[in-house]
């Protein structure tokens, strides 16, 4: 029951992130979607993977995305 | 610059093949649908979360013997770095290969 709710919230967040025009805002929304996946890992009793998921998805890939956005356009359309 | 909404310029001279023709798209979608249908059949064989068949799994050996044979209370760590450390060694080899590949890509001609 709680898994379905969390997954629907995640799909809603990703749908919002696709339609945003400012790319830095979209990166932040995608990072929060990865935090929801880490929450699902915690609910399935796997704390090691939850720590790794938060560190990689919300830390490192967001930084690399921001570096890539800096070298190209910031506001699409 | 040409007719992009119509048929694909498949064999025009001097122009790279940029568009996938309609026939190949339909065949691709059909193959993907068949593959997804075959893979979804395996969803009926997954056991419930927390179900354990003790007589058949090797996990009970890991749980019973982790503390006295390895000296670490974290069973995941003792599995990754001690009972199955060869797999971790292979993973580090993959990390090495990735680093070598990236360093080769960004190397300049004159250091």
């Amino acid at each position: 029951m709680i898994f379905e709710l969390l997954l629907i919230v995640m799909i809603g967040l990703i749908a919002v992130a696709i339609n945003l025009k400012d790319l830095v805002h979209a990166v932040i929304v995608l990072a929060s979607a990865d935090v929801i996946i880490a929450l699902i890992f915690l609910l399935l009793a796997a704390p090691d993977i939850a720590i790794t998921q938060v560190a990689i998805a919300s830390g490192l890939t967001s930084l690399i995305f921001i570096v890539a956005i800096r070298k190209s356009i910031r506001r699409e359309e | 610059m040409g007719n992009r909404a119509g048929k694909a310029p498949y064999k025009e001279r001097g122009m790279m093949k940029k568009y996938i023709p309609e026939k190949k798209k339909i065949v691709g979608v059909l193959v993907l649908a068949l593959f997804a249908f075959v893979l979804a059949q395996s969803l009926f064989f997954i056991p419930q979360f927390g179900d354990l068949d003790v007589g058949r799994d090797v996990s009970s050996y890991y749980i019973d013997n982790s503390l006295e044979k390895t000296g670490s209370a974290n069973i995941v760590n003792s599995i990754v770095w001690d009972f199955r450390s060869y797999d971790t060694l292979g993973e580090e080899t993959v990390l090495f290969a990735a680093t070598i590949g990236i360093v080769l890509l960004v190397r300049r001609r004159k250091i």
Partner: protein, 130 residues
């Protein structure tokens, strides 16, 4: 980047480093281990690399060689595994004499962390440099 980002990165760097080392060293007692600790240390370094301008980053990277550290750590892991097989060190005597130290798991965690952290720092630096 801005002055605010530079100052914040410089202030946050020792705390991130300390948290990563904490997760690594307690790998045999609490959840965590080698891989998350390495990723967190790499995130701390990546923050510094992105916040400063390129000439200063290049000047710092000429003095530290990350590929040498990675090779030493990789060789260390190989040596540990060969050592463990040869002496069959996961037997009771080692654990009872060393107490709370984790046997052979603790050096393996440290080497694994060094390898993951140096790999990710090399990758982030290569992306910035182009």
């Amino acid at each position: 980047m801005d002055t605010i980002v530079k100052t914040t990165a410089r202030i946050m760097f020792p705390f991130i480093l300390m948290y990563g080392i904490y997760i690594t060293l307690h790998g045999h007692l609490t959840p965590g281990g080698g891989f998350p600790g390495g990723v967190i240390i790499a995130t701390g370094f990546a923050l510094l690399i992105i916040a400063h301008k390129e000439s200063r980053v290049e000047h710092t990277f000429r003095q530290i060689s990350f590929i040498d550290a990675k090779s030493i750590a990789g060789f260390g892991i190989l040596l540990l595994i060969m050592f463990g097989i040869f002496f069959r060190l996961n037997i009771i005597q080692v654990e009872k004499s060393l107490g709370i130290l984790g046997g052979l798991t603790l050096p393996s965690n440290i080497f694994g962390t060094i390898m993951v952290a140096t790999t990710l720092v090399i990758i982030v630096y290569s992306i910035i440099k182009e």
